[in-house]
């Protein structure tokens, strides 16, 4: 009993420790916010500047979620900053409400709606198109504020007379214009913003967003509806901007029209880059540096109006040399000083416990169902035409449950095109595909993966900036959450069930001892196995493998063939490969493609002795 009690106490303290550890960053922000009024005024920061830093920092949290985490570089955040600001200011100055909280919430809600609508347009494209569209949208809002809506927004004059928060709870009276009260009010708002943002980045959604930034194609292929996730984060960023905009009006007692200007959006981008992208606090740090240097250049150095030139140069130098901004620079410096390069520490504590074929096979129930009449995949008259080139023509093909099918064919036979059509990456010119009795022709890759059909790619499609565990977690999340679930506050990094699933997949593909390594540090063969692992983690009932053995050493081939045999035990597999020995050993039935058509289909022995097949590979230049 005493022993048990001890164990419980131990567990309790471990739990407490982990909670404290999780809350530590929030606590640091809280401590910094408390200490700032004590320290910063001595460095020349005025109260007003510190208040502004908080407003810009809050605006930046949303932008960093959008750019730093999801990779969407928006030059139009001023649109939502202004929208939230003017809605809040309008409601307060026209006495629709005297409640500042209500007005702020209204501003956030309107910004969210506007963000949703703008997102529908801007998110139709990515990369440079997205950047250009957001620039244009930002400009439109500036024009809208300035003339058509001038009756409500005051046009070039803005909205003066925004009240500041004054309220009383019992005997406690809060008046924002006294002492540090405005700072306290804004600091609380900022802290709430940071706490929420940190929950988001540790939630399943946060992980998926990073995956979208890293490799959108694969994120969609493992079954995430990436468009919905982008739309979600775009709206969240708009909420942050709207909230910050409302606070700007309250802080200044006046809502300025230039909140909408391109300069505001540009400044936000620059401050975030200066502070550090993908850090949440980067924009706030950047805003501090920005406002401090502006005063420094203007008054101390007497540069006058050319402060912006100096800041522009600082920004360029940072983009060129210090790619992770000031925060990233400090982190790197810290690593350098402590020689804590992870590589040295991570000599594996438990060397690769060699997973034998036997252990793998015993782990998987030998529940192989072989019912010839249970057709999993049925393809009829499938053709694909690229301009004048007929890549696939009139393919009829079916696979029954539990089968392990091999597909071979000379280069250019149309094998990969065939696979791409099966997973709906490309749509056929004609013909139909039925998966488990359902016609999936014209479906999206994401939906097909959710139904249980996915593939591993011929060329690795991994999340290169993430660790091995995180890679598999992305695929597991798609299985667990479905194609879209706005699960923003549940901590995915500490979910034991999710991690058990990840560990199971990792042990299957033999990567347990590499779980915390970034993908970029893996050997080629390991990356190949992870590629298969990503597909496997979505628990497909039909798994397609596009040249799983490509580029592997003979030893790795032997291991991978074993692995394929093992995972073929409880699911249907179709394998394309050029390694004949492997295919002949693995497959129960082989389909030979040639010039986009099915040449012949049969057992390995039949294929081996087929004259047409031999000719396709050895002769075959007639025509």
């Amino acid at each position: 009993m005493a022993y048990l009690d001890q164990k419980v106490v131990l567990n309790m303290s471990r739990l407490e420790k982990s909670i404290i550890k999780r809350l530590l960053p929030d606590l640091w922000v809280l401590i910094s916010l408390v200490l700032a009024p004590v320290i910063l005024p001595h460095l020349g920061f005025s109260q007003d500047v510190m208040n502004r830093i908080l407003v810009y920092g809050l605006l930046g949290i949303g932008f960093d979620l959008l750019f730093g985490y999801t990779g969407l570089l928006s030059f139009g955040q001023a649109a939502f900053f202004g929208t939230g600001g003017f809605v809040t200011a309008y409601l307060l100055t026209n006495s629709f409400t005297s409640s500042i909280a209500l007005a702020l919430i209204a501003g956030v809600v309107v910004s969210a709606i506007v963000g949703f609508l703008v997102g529908l347009v801007a998110l139709r494209r990515t990369g440079i198109y997205f950047a250009m569209i957001t620039v244009a949208i930002g400009e439109v809002f500036y024009f809208l504020e300035n003339s058509p809506l001038a009756n409500y927004t005051g046009g070039e004059n803005g909205l003066p007379g925004v009240p500041s928060p004054n309220f009383s709870i019992g005997n406690f009276v809060f008046q924002a214009n006294q002492g540090w009260n405005m700072y306290i009010f804004l600091a609380i708002c900022f802290l709430i913003g940071i706490v929420i943002a940190r929950r988001i980045i540790h939630s399943p959604v946060g992980h998926i967003l990073v995956a979208i930034r890293d490799n959108p194609l694969r994120a969609a292929a493992v079954g995430h509806r990436i468009q919905s996730y982008k739309q979600l984060i775009f709206v969240i960023a708009a909420c942050y901007a709207g909230f910050a905009g409302g606070l700007l009006g309250i802080l200044q007692g006046y809502m300025p029209p230039d909140a909408f200007s391109f300069d505001t959006s540009g400044q936000l981008v620059m401050q975030t880059v200066i502070g550090g992208v993908g850090t949440l606090l980067g924009p706030m740090v950047g805003a501090s540096i920005w406002l401090y240097l502006r005063d420094f250049f203007q008054s101390t150095l007497g540069l006058g109006a050319s402060w912006k030139l100096a800041l522009g140069l600082v920004f360029m130098l940072l983009v060129i040399f210090l790619r992770k901004g000031v925060i990233g620079g400090f982190v790197d410096l810290n690593h350098l000083l402590h020689h804590k390069r992870k590589k040295h520490l991570e000599s594996d504590p438990n060397p690769d416990t060699e997973v034998t074929l036997e252990s793998l096979v015993s782990e998987i129930k030998p529940s192989k169902i072989h019912d010839i009449n249970d057709i999993v995949l049925e393809v009829k008259g499938l053709s694909k035409r690229y301009g004048g080139l007929l890549a696939n023509s009139d393919i009829n093909f079916s696979v029954h449950r539990g089968e392990l099918r091999g597909i071979i064919g000379p280069n250019g036979a149309g094998k990969s095109t065939f696979f791409k059509m099966l997973t709906c990456e490309v749509h056929p010119t004609s013909g139909s595909i039925k998966f488990e009795g359902r016609d999936i022709t014209g479906f999206s890759v994401t939906d097909v993966c959710q139904l249980g059909l996915t593939k591993s790619y011929q060329v690795n499609q991994l999340f290169n900036q993430l660790t091995v565990t995180e890679n598999v977690l992305i695929a597991v999340l798609a299985k667990e959450q479905g194609s879209f679930k706005p699960d923003l506050f549940h901590n995915a990094s500490h979910d034991k069930r999710l991690h058990d699933m990840v560990d199971h997949t990792l042990s299957l593909v033999h990567l347990t001892n590499r779980k915390n390594h970034p993908v970029s540090e893996l050997a080629y063969g390991e990356k190949r196995r992870l590629e298969i692992g990503l597909a496997l983690a979505t628990s497909p009932s039909l798994l397609l493998l596009d040249e799983p053995l490509a580029g592997m050493s003979p030893k790795e081939r032997v291991e991978t063939v074993r692995l394929l045999k093992a995972i073929g035990q409880d699911r249907t597999l179709i394998v394309i490969d050029h390694d004949m020995d492997a295919i002949f050993e693995l497959a129960e039935k082989i389909t030979v493609l040639r010039e986009g058509k099915i040449l012949v289909e049969g057992t390995p022995a039949e294929i081996r002795n087929n004259a047409q097949v031999q000719e396709a590979y050895l002769g075959g230049m007639e025509e």
């Binding site: 250009m132 569209i133 949208i137 024009f143 300035n146 050319s306 360029m316």
Partner: protein
């Protein structure tokens, strides 16, 4: 209220503006198409051309010289920018390229502000292009017609370079597949330098020609950059004909809308861009292959 002659003169205004936008946008689009870099300093280069032209005119009183020297100056600046900055960003991400050119644009604008101040400057319309010309049914300012002529000439030369020279063939091949061009033994980086210079010059040239119509300030490039983006989204990224078509469409939208209510001209432009994005996501003449 809105007379026919008013309407037609606005349409011609649209052509003038559209031609200018087409020239600026084609500069931006061939740079992106060939180098893969979206140049956010393009608006600043337009402004720089204007100032270079104005400065030349102040010292020579020659309209002709101000156009030639202004354009050549921006060509030179473009080549320098490519050599000392852009070429180190070919291997970086799209976002970093956007950020660095964004910073560069600000630096150029602020240098000009430092040197010449924020007040607007202008070049007078040359004496041979002053006054109005009869178009048979109406009168129209002569210089604006001259602008259309000069810009059309510039676009034609750009077309000649792109479609009738070896360099142009390499550029167009590079837009399709720059890796392949590299493998064929052509020094793509030399070509990149020239293309960036020529693209910059297109903006700078438009900048000089525009000064007698619209006086310049250091901030004049910002609005132009935004409009250029819309032009390219409408026309299709990397497409030279797309830039011309998009430019003319944008010019007409801006002019015709401002006849009814100038406040809505930008909004209208945005509405059209949205329609294009929903119906032809890759632009009117763009193809899916690029991007």
């Amino acid at each position: 209220m809105i007379s026919w002659s008013n309407f037609i003169s606005q349409c011609i205004n649209g052509v003038v503006l559209g031609a200018l936008l087409a020239l600026i946008s084609s500069g931006l689009t061939i740079i992106y198409g060939t180098l893969g870099v979206l140049n956010l300093a393009h608006g600043a280069l337009f402004m720089l051309g204007g100032y270079a032209g104005w400065y030349t005119y102040e010292h020579t009183q020659s309209y002709f010289l101000s156009i030639v020297l202004g354009a050549l100056f921006v060509l030179l600046v473009g080549i320098i920018i490519e050599r000392v900055l852009i070429r180190f960003f070919y291997s970086r991400t799209d976002e970093e390229q956007i950020l660095v050119t964004f910073g560069l644009g600000i630096v150029i604008v602020e240098i000009i502000r430092l040197v010449f101040g924020s007040l607007s400057e202008s070049i007078p319309i040359p004496h041979w292009a002053q006054g109005i010309t009869s178009l048979g049914f109406m009168f129209y300012p002569t210089y604006r017609l001259v602008v259309v002529g000069i810009v059309a000439l510039a676009l034609f030369s750009l077309w000649l370079i792109l479609y009738r020279t070896n360099l142009g063939m390499i550029v167009r091949a590079g837009i399709e597949d720059s890796e392949m061009v590299d493998m064929l033994g052509i020094n793509v980086y030399r070509v990149f330098m020239v293309v960036f210079g020529v693209g910059a010059m297109a903006a700078g040239f438009a900048g000089v020609v525009n000064v007698p119509v619209t006086p310049i300030t250091p901030d004049v490039g910002e609005d132009i950059l935004v409009e250029t983006f819309v032009v390219i989204v409408i026309g299709g990224v990397g497409s030279f004909p797309g830039a011309i078509l998009g430019g003319l469409i944008a010019g007409e939208i801006l002019s015709i809308t401002s006849m009814f209510n100038p406040a809505y001209s930008q909004v209208m432009l945005f509405v059209v861009m949205t329609i294009v994005l929903f119906t032809r996501p890759y632009g009117l003449l763009g193809s899916k292959g690029r991007s």
